[in-house]
């Protein structure tokens, strides 16, 4: 019987095999595979969940049960850049609501929505662990700390104008960030190439620019 993912890119198919090989129980691979599936389908579509179910030997319903719990598995499509503004307590006290409003204004997308040209999706998120660098913003899950309203507007304009293939936390922090929560150490060479986090073999990591 043909593979459920024969239409996927060769690179994705190889990563799927690597991931499946690294778990004793195939169903443990559901979450990492969902990231790859969402790269292939631009979202975690029903078809993507079906394919992951077949790869892991569970029913599509069981995959949906997992996928619907985690907000980072986007079942509805998102734009090219997913801008997440933290509105939890520390960021809120440091003006996150204003930053969010500025971002909505500049992107033309209300929170939870995607701009009409498909470039931006804006969302507000709960604590992303940067209370020391509040207010914090993520673009495709790459983190920028200490974002002022002014810089929020500039960040969106920069994304619009330069359309970076890869977004890098370090680069954006330098251009639009403020005070950091702590010293993050040396520069990170890899960023995100899609609204899927850039971790290791699971995600969308691309070489820096």
């Amino acid at each position: 019987m043909s593979s459920p993912i024969s239409a996927w890119s060769h690179a994705s198919q190889e990563r799927v095999q690597t991931i499946l090989d690294s778990y004793p129980e195939p169903r443990s691979a559901i979450m990492p595979l969902l990231y790859i599936a969402s790269l292939e389908h631009d979202r975690v579509s029903p078809e993507a969940m079906r394919q992951v179910a077949e790869l892991t030997g569970v029913t599509p319903a069981q995959v949906a049960s997992v996928a619907s719990f985690y907000t980072m598995f986007k079942r509805d499509g998102v734009g090219e850049y997913l801008v997440s503004v933290c509105t939890s307590i520390s960021c809120f006290l440091r003006g996150a609501d204003d930053v969010l409003e500025v971002v909505e204004d500049a992107t033309g997308a209300r929170r939870g929505e995607t701009s009409s040209d498909g470039t931006f999706t804006v969302e507000h998120v709960e604590c992303i662990g940067s209370c020391g660098g509040a207010p914090a913003v993520q673009v495709n899950y790459e983190l920028i700390e200490g974002v002022s309203t002014d810089n929020g507007r500039k960040l969106v304009a920069w994304l619009k104008d330069t359309k970076p293939q890869v977004v890098l936390a370090d680069e954006m922090q330098q251009l639009f960030g403020g005070s950091r929560s702590f010293d993050w150490g040396g520069p990170e060479p890899e960023g995100a190439i899609a609204p899927v986090p850039a971790f290791g073999p699971y995600g969308s990591s691309g070489e820096g620019r």
Binding site: M1, V58, T59, A61, Q62, A64, S65, S68
Partner: protein, 807 residues
């Protein structure tokens, strides 16, 4: 403390000695202290989801609230189930559970029998502080063709999810949107199409899951309950048949742990609307050329009596009786043998097993033996399709650690829980059996598993196309295994009861062989002389009818044209017969060819006893009067006998019951009265210990030829086929699958057959193809008795032709 198996616990200040190892909620229940609960259920793994069963248990750091459904009892445990703290906890939990509950009890099917309603009265705060708007969802949401979901009523107890996943093995219902909007859901476009979906409706502790059939039909307090037995298959699950205003509206499973443990298949549960279908035959019909005329019973019986009476005994045969009660089957056997004078009688239609193997195999297993088995061998039909509740029992045994060996030409429902799956090309079973016995090659694992006793072997025919002698060889092999017991697998309702009542050539009532002079003498003392010719089985009867050696046929609830391996032969036989009477409730492919149709009372209307595949006799009770002018078989046979000038003595059920208990040796003492008033409510197992059973049958390893040819046939049974009951059973009627022929991709490639393409099988049936790499090479899988495969002849090999012209 009494002994190591017991502990002393204190509940509400009173000491109790209880069995160790059980859960606190169960221990409390057993001593009459019912702790409220929603998610807890005896047959499901504990999850402690609903928090309703909180009780106070004293611990090293004082009293604490713990969920009693996950807390095992321990010695010296001090429990308070009624303290102010516990009461407040219960009130709090219920107040939370009711926050989003619509409180629409007056229009809810569950209202009146609802644990949420009952426990809200008993343990709730009486008033809610929640004044905000309740959450609303689209409702009702059909999660399948049979079950509707109301997410607003749901209390998220997880029972349905556990039934679907753990019990049935169909994890199609899940929690989605976990968090604030957590809800039960199916995957889009993938409904809860489980054969066991109805069990979730029965177990749902609120009105969230309701059945399509029962919706708005009745209120619980108006229902009349009758405990009876399902006749859908030979497991004969114990059921609670619920009627309202003269109609069955609902069938629930009864927790008979010896049989079905409360579970039912959806066929058991939802087939009842067929009884009330307006397609039922409710008046005698007499053929008038191409059509049937309605007749009175007097007219019809006179015709039947005179036509049958004008034949010699050996020219009359009867096929059927497997859907009837033991009493009706007994009456049929007595009618044929003593009134007609014919030994040609068969409850099976060439689709079963050797009658002596099925009725009297040595070391016959009980269902409960599966629970204690170390190894289970299943070599027979796909249990999930044929005997679904037995499938659940085998699944349970594997959960408890039994090693499962499944042998079949194609994938079966049990493969996912099997330790060893052995496939073979259909028609080569005897070769495989030899290899399995020797533990050849890759069978070494399966062979060594079978050395771990006790072994329970479930043995039947994998398909109609398989030689029935193979099952005997398998049984003979199985009996050589350590501490082996055998459960013969037959499907049709009360076929084991029918065989026990002697509805087989070569058998007399009570598992007596016609070869036993003692047995024959005993029956002749009661009935007068038995016919002196040898009885023929159904296939020979049909052949003789075609040849003209026989002239009349009595079909009792049987449909040879649909069910026998050679439908063409069956049709030809019925058409060739001088006279055919069908005693049936429906116009079937067979009864439509009859000369007279006598309307028969069916399940739900008949009274008596039935016997399941382990030999357990249970009471089957009527909920209804027979529809229209339908009559029970024993009474109408008695009338035919009177018309023929004979006294059959079967007009009264109690009389038949007494006669069975006296002339059928293995049924000695098992009367309706005994089962009703004195017997175990779970039913009585007919003695299977070898000394008490007159006929002791040890299967022999008969030579079974290996079939060769390009394609050998596997004629696969499915739960939802084109059977007449299903077609007439409202919601179930539409569930029959479409017919696909399945074959291995490499066979398809060799013949350049592509998926979806239509092929001609055996020159008779055009069917679409699906590729399936779980099918053994060289095997063609054809679904049995679907609309598209009606009339398909079960031959060992089949031919395959393409229809796309020259290539």
């Amino acid at each position: 403390m009494a002994d190591a198996d017991q502990v002393t616990i204190t509940i509400n200040g009173i000491d109790h000695v209880v069995a160790a190892g059980q859960l606190l909620i169960t221990a409390a229940e057993n001593i009459g202290e019912i702790i409220p609960r929603f998610c807890h259920h005896d047959k499901l793994e504990p999850v402690a989801k609903c928090r309703m069963c909180l009780v106070e248990v004293e611990g090293p750091r004082g009293k604490a609230l713990v969920p009693s459904c996950t807390m095992p009892v321990s010695n010296g445990m001090v429990v308070d189930t009624k303290s102010a703290v516990v009461t407040k906890a219960h009130e709090g939990v219920l107040e939370f559970l009711l926050i989003n509950h619509p409180l629409d009890c007056p229009i809810c099917d569950k209202g009146g029998e609802c644990p949420l309603q009952d426990q809200a009265y008993a343990h709730g705060p009486g008033e809610s502080r929640f004044v905000e708007e309740k959450r609303t969802y689209l409702k009702p949401l059909p999660v399948s063709d049979l079950v509707l979901l109301d997410r607003e009523r749901c209390v998220l107890c997880d029972r349905c999810v556990r039934v679907a996943d753990d019990i049935a093995g169909d994890p199609l219902l899940v929690f989605t949107e976990r968090g604030n909007a957590v809800q039960i859901q199916t995957f889009p476009d993938e409904p809860f199409a489980s054969y066991f979906s109805g069990n979730t409706v029965q177990l749902c502790p609120v009105g969230a899951l309701t059945s399509v059939d029962y919706r708005f039909k009745a209120r619980p307090w108006d229902l009349h309950h009758v405990t009876s037995v399902s006749l859908v298959d030979t497991v004969q699950s114990t059921v609670d048949v619920q009627t309202s205003r003269g109609k069955i509206v609902r069938v629930y499973g009864v927790e008979n742990d010896a049989v079905n443990e409360g579970w039912l298949s959806d066929k058991d549960r939802f087939v009842f609307p067929a009884i009330h279908a307006d397609t039922r035959v409710v008046q005698p019909l007499v053929r008038n050329g191409e059509r049937f005329d309605k007749a009175t019973w007097g007219e019809a019986l006179e015709i039947v009596a005179s036509r049958l009476g004008s034949c010699k005994g050996a020219e009359v045969a009867a096929i059927g009786g497997a859907h009837n009660t033991n009493e009706d089957a007994f009456a049929l056997g007595k009618f044929m043998r003593s009134v007609i004078g014919s030994a040609h009688i068969d409850a099976q239609i060439g689709d079963g097993l050797d009658a002596r193997l099925a009725a009297a195999v040595t070391s016959r297993a009980r269902l409960g033996d599966l629970d204690a088995a170390s190894t289970i061998l299943v070599w027979g039909p796909d249990l999930k399709e044929v005997l679904p509740v037995l499938y659940l029992r085998v699944r349970k045994a594997t959960r408890n650690g039994a090693t499962l060996v499944v042998v079949s030409p194609v994938a079966t429902g049990l493969d996912s829980v099997a330790d060893h799956v052995v496939r073979y090309r259909a028609g080569t079973g005897s070769e495989l059996l030899r290899k399995l016995g020797a533990g050849d090659g890759d069978l070494v694992g399966a062979r060594s598993a079978l050395r771990e006793g006790p072994v329970v072997a479930l043995v039947g025919r994998t398909s109609l196309a398989e030689d029935p002698n193979l099952a005997e060889s398998i049984a003979a092999f199985a009996l050589s295994l350590p501490e082996a017991k055998i459960l013969p697998l037959l499907e049709r309702g009360n076929v084991f009861g029918a065989l026990d009542m002697g509805l087989a050539p070569g058998l007399l009532p009570g598992r007596v062989s016609v070869d036993s002079q003692e047995g024959v003498d005993a029956i002749e003392d009661a009935w007068g002389p038995l016919p002196d010719h040898e009885g023929l089985d159904a296939m020979s009867i049909l052949a003789d009818l075609v040849e003209g050696d026989m002239s009349a046929l009595v079909m009792v609830g049987s449909d040879p044209v649909s069910d026998c391996p050679d439908p063409q032969l069956a049709r030809a036989a019925i058409e060739a017969a001088d006279f055919v009477v069908a005693i049936d409730a429906f116009i079937t492919d067979s009864s439509v060819l009859a000369d007279v149709i006598l309307p028969a009372a069916v399940w739900g209307e008949v009274d008596g006893t039935v016997t399941n595949l382990e030999g357990r006799v249970q009471r089957i009770r009527p909920s209804l009067l027979p529809a229209g002018q339908s009559r029970a078989l024993h009474g109408l046979l008695d009338d035919i006998a009177s018309q023929m000038g004979a006294d059959l003595g079967t007009s009264d059920l109690a009389m038949i019951s007494k006669e069975i208990a006296s002339v059928a040796p293995s049924y000695a003492g098992i009367t309706i009265d005994y089962l009703t008033f004195a017997g175990d409510p779970d039913g009585v197992v007919v003695p299977i210990e070898d000394a008490q059973q007159p006929l002791v049958y040890t299967p022999v390893d008969r030579p079974v030829p290996v079939v060769t040819g390009e394609f050998t046939l596997h004629l696969a049974a499915s739960l939802y086929d084109a059977g007449v009951w299903l077609s007439n059973a409202a919601a179930l009627g539409d569930l029959a699958r479409s017919a696909y022929v399945r074959l291995h991709p490499s066979d398809a490639a060799r013949r350049a057959i592509t998926p979806g393409e239509t092929i001609v099988v055996s020159g008779s049936h055009q069917l679409p193809v699906a590729l399936d790499d779980t099918v053994s090479r060289g095997t063609l899988v054809v679904p049995h008795n679907l609309e598209e495969t009606k009339g398909f002849v079960a031959t060992p090999t089949v031919t395959v032709d393409t229809v796309r012209g020259e290539e």
